[in-house]
């Protein structure tokens, strides 16, 4: 399943739950965000049974991005039970995203 585009309301509802939510904060003008995109989709598929993968366009959801203190994009944040588990900024490879998720889920 492809990562869904999330608005603020969906974000607030889904990140409260038990199932971890991986959010990619991005913007259309960010070149590196685009490069991360295909890798993020593959990760979303690989972890489909363990987490929900979603994307937040910080231009469209500026308030949400500010509330989550997103200063740099791409930032990936992992949420569970309404809390941030961990985050990573501009991962250099698909393996780095994979490692981030495994560590965050294990921690």
């Amino acid at each position: 399943m492809a990562a869904m585009e999330m608005n603020r309301e969906q974000f607030e509802r889904m990140t409260q739950g038990d199932k971890p939510v991986l959010v990619d904060f991005w913007a259309p003008w960010c070149g590196y965000c685009r490069r991360i995109g295909p890798a993020f989709e593959r990760i979303a598929e690989a972890y489909a049974d363990r987490l929900t993968a979603a994307k937040v366009n910080i231009d469209e959801e500026a308030q949400l991005a500010e509330a989550e203190r997103i200063e740099v994009i791409p930032t990936l944040m992992l949420y569970r039970n309404g809390k941030v588990v961990d985050s990573i900024v501009a991962p250099e490879s698909q393996a780095a995203i994979d490692r981030f998720i495994r560590d965050a889920l294990a921690g």
Partner: protein, 317 residues
Amino acid sequence: MNERHIYDMIVIGGGPGGYTAAMYAARAGLDVLVLEKLSAGGQMALSEAIDNYPGFEEGIDGFTLAEKMQRQAERFGAKTAYAQARRAALSGAVKTLETDAGTFYARTVALATGANPKPLGIAGETALVGRGVAYCAACDGMRYRGKTVAVVGGGNSAAADALLLSRIAAQVILVHRRDALRATKVYHEPLMQAKNVSFRWNSVVTELLHDGHVTGVRLKDTATGEESELPCDAVFVSIGREPATALVRDQLALDAAGYVIADETTQTNLPGVYAVGDVRAKPLHQVVTAVSDGAVAVQMAEAYLASLTDGGRTAKI
């Protein structure tokens, strides 16, 4: 995931050179795998518009062009493994590549790892990329139409960037740590004549000033030690590139700047290993010259494989 399969060719890096090599190899009937750490395109994928790649008369963004090249190679049977090569053993008949997703083997290797712009190496730089810190005037310059931009560097690429930006931005300030350009003379005259280009000689950037987006830079005079602030909307860092050769540093002959030494045939000092694209020492690093290398490398690899007993197929891991 250890794959004991031996590929005819493994391409390291999924930029334009890499996927062109993969496309030619697949079309030649070679069993070819591309190792790509993130997604197709390399440096090209970060370019908003490529206007000098023939056949796209309106220009095309680098990310889309990369996806097209990948799909084209895959149409003929090339495969991609999303993995970053960590160690390479390239001297034997069978080359071994250890990655973060297992070990891969091949009879030939096309090294297409590209190059990366050198960073200034100061605090906050990475965080401000896309927010006023840029490394490619041709890619990101259009965003600063009518604005004030600083260009850091004094070589040919800095001079070319400053000239290009002078046609877009309102003001261009070239910041250089020496008191004269290292750039070729051909750049001097037009730069000196451009009304909106000024110079800050003997100056280094010590700090990026920002409010989430660049608002200026702090400069230090290398002669007097005096510090000053230079307000600007963007900083274009143009202090050269570093080829991505960490993987092969101990095995391949490199020039003084770190590029792999290989002539137009792309052959390196090791049999069956080819240097493709920006990682190769050559006079012009462009998408159009990278794809050319990819095609040539496959031609050489085919000849090399044909010269081996049984096309190298009897070689053991």
